[in-house]
Symmetry: C2
Subunit: 336 residues, 2 copies
């Protein structure tokens, strides 16, 4: 019943902590390439599906109508660190639709990036909704609602036309009915529905290949993926896993973190989709697991391999810079 | 083989994440009161044993010779948040022994407390060694070394006379040989040795009761426990679990968090010692588990029960203040 150990944390020569989890790697038809643990139990994908939540931004015509640029589209798919460029870009997206930051309903929080938070504090300012890690997604929601000619107010509620579009996109991509009893509320106040990892992985294989999608929808995802690949800073931030990985691999891997230990990804050239969750919700382990899957499946150049190895086996140093331990994929995950 | 689930994290009506772990509740003779999971595997106790690491500070005569006050002794047992009072108190301890902050070898880091970190950033300052969450412990090490008439320089190294004293205290309390192959380096650069939870729990039963200890050593622990009970702010900080719990319970519970999901504690009136570790290293789950054990074993007044319930079943609210989920002890832990 218990999912296998995916990631080990060492200190000295001792395994100090372990992270259990489950993952699915499938193709666009759902054929299994690798399955570990229970991938049929519904889990909240959280922010890992922001690229799907951004679909109405394209399909409503908003992206074209308001002339959204690729860095803005990347931010619409982002869980960003709240650095100045992130906040400024979210504000610019809103301005294109003639809206103000006050219309964002995600709530304000200090920048997720610790250095960004301290930099903001140094200026004496307080955080705004623009610093919320989801502000780009929410700005995209506003743009989409405006293009749909619906009042954006209340766009975070399950019954709002915008959220109904998001839910329809999620159900179409995953093939999994989004039932009310599997609904939770995300950190940014929009609904999140639990979906099996297997269905999420297949959705991402479709996002990476277009298989099973209309030509328009396949093109919409190709556009969003290209935007993120061209602007990996926007989708996360300085020193963040998603930014580092996509700076190294470009469009070869589209990866997106979600809260509570979730990752979704696609390797378009292999036609594969991936979804994983660390059972304990640990981001550090989800990152190591994601990097291990990149190493396991994608042929890498020496330069790419070096960049990914730093993510799959991160060294942990203490406040004096001493190497005290490592994180590493467990046997089940690392072995070819 | 896998330890049981100790803590569940819910979102909506769904269990979103789970935390496995092990724990031992024993008396000073080692008799089992409650054991869950594997408590015989050595685990790094990390900062959960700071009260034992502070023993040389008392037994060297330093505490008396330098006139250390109870708030300073509490800080010597602390993983503090780096708030101004913490940093000032560490500096004062050093001054009593005629030493400067520069002699601390723990390394500098931004205050562990996010609000304290931002407050420091607002002043334009950078963090110093005094802000390190272990600065009180290290200031205590310096005082102890001075009272031992040994040069404090290099006091973080395993071979230094001070660390040999710390190791001897740990071995005497736990009855477990500290072998080099089970040695790691802690965040603050001192050695940490892996010890079974069962042995740690018995050590804390002894700390709480004095059973099996010399009269002098029993008195030393009683003094340290009383100092922490009188100054729970010093041992952690604003909004922190250990501070809140000991503000509510006073000397009825001595609890101390360690990194990577560890807690050690004693309930002196019951003669019990406790050691637990969440296998994934999650502090949030270790806290819930610790609070659940307080509820399970200690008779509580209505006011105490209310304070502890907020810790054993914390509500998680999002950036708009909406209740999105809870953490709670799993069945194995909660049931009487």
């Amino acid at each position: 019943m218990t999912d296998p150990v995916l990631v080990e944390v060492t200190r000295g020569d001792v395994v100090e902590s372990v992270h259990h989890g489950a993952l699915a790697v499938v193709d666009a038809d759902g054929a299994e390439v690798l399955v570990l643990g229970d991938v049929d139990r519904p889990v909240f994908p959280r922010s890992a599906v922001k690229v799907i939540q951004a679909l109405p931004l394209i399909e409503s015509g908003a992206a074209d109508r308001y002339g959204l640029t690729d860095d803005e589209l990347s931010l619409a798919c982002a869980s960003h660190s709240g650095e100045p460029r992130h906040a400024e870009t979210a504000a610019r997206m809103l301005a294109r639709a003639g809206r103000e930051p006050a219309c964002l309903e995600c709530g304000a929080h200090w920048p997720m990036g610790q250095e960004a938070a301290r930099a903001l504090a140094r200026t004496g300012a307080e955080p705004t909704v623009l610093h919320n890690n989801c502000s780009g997604k929410h700005a995209g929601f506003i743009c989409a609602a405006c293009a749909m000619d619906v009042d954006p107010a209340g766009y975070i509620e399950p019954g709002h036309a915008l959220q109904r579009e998001v839910k329809a996109a999620m159900e179409a991509l995953t093939g999994f009915a989004h039932r009310d009893e599997l609904r939770g509320t995300d950190g940014c106040s929009i609904p999140t529905y639990a979906v099996p990892l297997r269905a999420l992985a297949r959705a991402f294989a479709r996002i990476g290949t277009g298989t099973g999608l209309t030509r328009e929808r396949a093109a919409a995802f190709a556009r969003l993926r290209a935007a993120v690949a061209a602007h990996p800073f926007m989708v996360a931030g300085t020193g963040r896993f998603d930014t580092i990985l996509m700076e190294a691999l470009g469009a070869r891997a589209f990866v997106k973190v979600g809260a509570e230990g979730v990752y979704c990804a696609t390797f378009p050239e292999l036609g594969l989709g991936i979804a994983l969750k660390c059972d304990d919700g640990a981001a550090r382990a989800a990152e190591v697991a994601m990097a291990a899957l990149v190493e396991r499946f994608l042929p890498l150049s020496a330069q790419e391999a070096e960049a990914v190895a730093a993510l799959s086996r991160p060294q942990m140093r203490n406040w004096n810079g001493r190497l005290v331990g490592t994180m590493r994929p467990a046997a089940a995950l690392a072995s070819g």
